[in-house]
Symmetry: C2
């Protein structure tokens, strides 16, 4: 795991083709406009009304519903569509990419995406995962500073071209992100625990309360419940996809958490207050240590 | 469960004795100074340095280390000490209370506190739990607006004096809280799920990550992990006490959560995406419904 801090942008990436004008794709376009204004942007999408909105807001110089024309003359292609659509999209653009065109993506799961896309796109593809998001989705939620200070995990493989890797790193750094490199499998294990698990737990906590307390009890929820369940307002379809695509690591994380909660319950039943105090003290130390900086310092 | 909205304060509660100048007790004093400036305040504490700080900040008209003198001439006594200390304190003040003196507390667990204190303090005692707090503790974290808009659960029993109940309600309303009345047992079930469970889960999520990811991985945590684990920085001793005192309901909530996470893991393993989508959709609907208003609207 190697990390490098974000630097200011300001350069140009020539012609960038963004696939999927949602929260991430829209924010990529906004950030490019704000930080690399000389970059030409073309945006591919399926929904014509959404593409009209893209043009109305000046987010792209051209919009396309045909993948082949969207990547014509592109120096860099950024796939910001749902993970389930990427393989098909990659297959449809592969024959139309110029030899030097670099491709990256913003998918929140990497092992399966890289395994699917590398054979189609070759060594010019380098996967990435900007860890920035919101419980809101869609173009309306996009903002130019979404990636500022956010971690971006870049997941090259042994097959990756070193220059393509450099372009992909430079690209996300230009949008304000802090780059950490790691293999796709290590990425999936990490995000299962740092992102997918807290999302799954948030959904579970809300359902537990809805099923076990009288109607209106939620009005009495304090800050801890609100914070822990904020992301339960996330898009269910999108998150069904994310959890499923990272199935192997998410299942492991869920079962480990389940076990931890059971053993905490057992400590409580057996009145083993020393063990509980140890458990809580260890968590507080880790949470307040440099390993977990204050929210202001990261996303 | 009956709820009434907070009203503006401004009146006086005569002489109020606050036990425990920590986050809650200190905030009670600050709120009284701000909202009911005619109220005379005496504060009891064990730590002389802390009591000096209380006087220096003008939070009390008198400070005491002797419980008996602290309650002399008090119209209202507010116990803001850790739950484990309340029975002993109640026993030490009981002989010194004037006949009309009303006693309330701010303990976050109610069935055991009420069962312990009611026999000692009689019908003039009415338990309460202002659901306001912070991952920080101690007098330094106290603030005058801690209770503004916060729910306060008041837990009278059949033995409670109706006038004492009215005084206790009026007191917490004067500090800005919104009152909901319920029996002590219903309170414990509710807070186990809305507060104690998210705290326990926060501690567990941090320990899981600390144990299973390389050092420094926490730096890559995004908003969902930060929010879900914010309260893992809470005081371990205090929370060992709270979880233990509400043992019965916390164990039930932990086991139910553990089961929910396991069944989600099983759905993932069996690729039952429809069940996952249902689970997530139901959570999102509850989370965004009026049952769980936006954080701005509650604590």
């Amino acid at each position: 795991m190697s990390t490098s801090a974000g630097k200011e942008g300001g350069g140009s990436f020539g012609r960038v083709a963004i696939f999927g004008p949602g929260l991430i794709g829209g924010s990529v376009a906004l950030a490019l406009r704000a930080r690399c204004p000389k970059t030409a942007i073309s945006i591919w999408g399926r929904n014509r009304a959404c593409l009209e909105e893209v043009m109305k807001r000046g987010l792209a110089d051209a919009v396309h519903t045909d993948p082949a024309t969207a990547v014509a003359d592109a120096d860099l292609v950024v796939l910001c569509t749902p993970i389930g659509t990427m393989q098909e999209l990659a297959a449809s653009i592969a024959p139309h990419l110029a030899p030097g065109t670099v491709v990256t993506d913003a998918g929140s799961v990497k092992a399966c995406v890289v395994a699917q896309l590398e054979p189609l796109l070759g060594k010019q593809f380098v996967g990435a995962h900007p860890m920035a998001g919101s419980e809101r989705s869609g173009l309306a939620a996009a903002r130019s500073n979404l990636f500022e200070g956010a971690p971006c995990l870049v997941t090259p493989t042994e097959a990756s071209d070193v220059h393509a890797l450099e372009r992909v790193r430079a690209f996300w750094i230009s949008l304000g992100a802090r780059i950490t490199e790691m293999p796709p499998a290590a990425h999936d294990r990490l995000v299962a625990r740092l992102s997918h698990l807290p999302h799954a737990v948030a959904f579970a906590l809300v359902n537990l309360v809805a099923d076990s307390l009288p109607e209106g009890a939620g009005l009495l929820a304090g800050g801890s419940f609100h914070d822990a369940t904020r992301v339960a307002a996330s898009d269910p379809g999108l998150w069904t996809g994310i959890l499923s695509e990272n199935r192997h690591e998410v299942v492991a994380a869920l079962r480990e958490t389940s076990q931890l909660l059971n053993s905490l319950a057992q400590h409580l039943e057996e009145a083993r207050n020393d063990s509980i105090l140890d458990f809580l003290t260890r968590a507080k130390e880790h949470r307040t240590s440099l390993l977990f900086p204050a929210p202001e310092e990261t996303l």
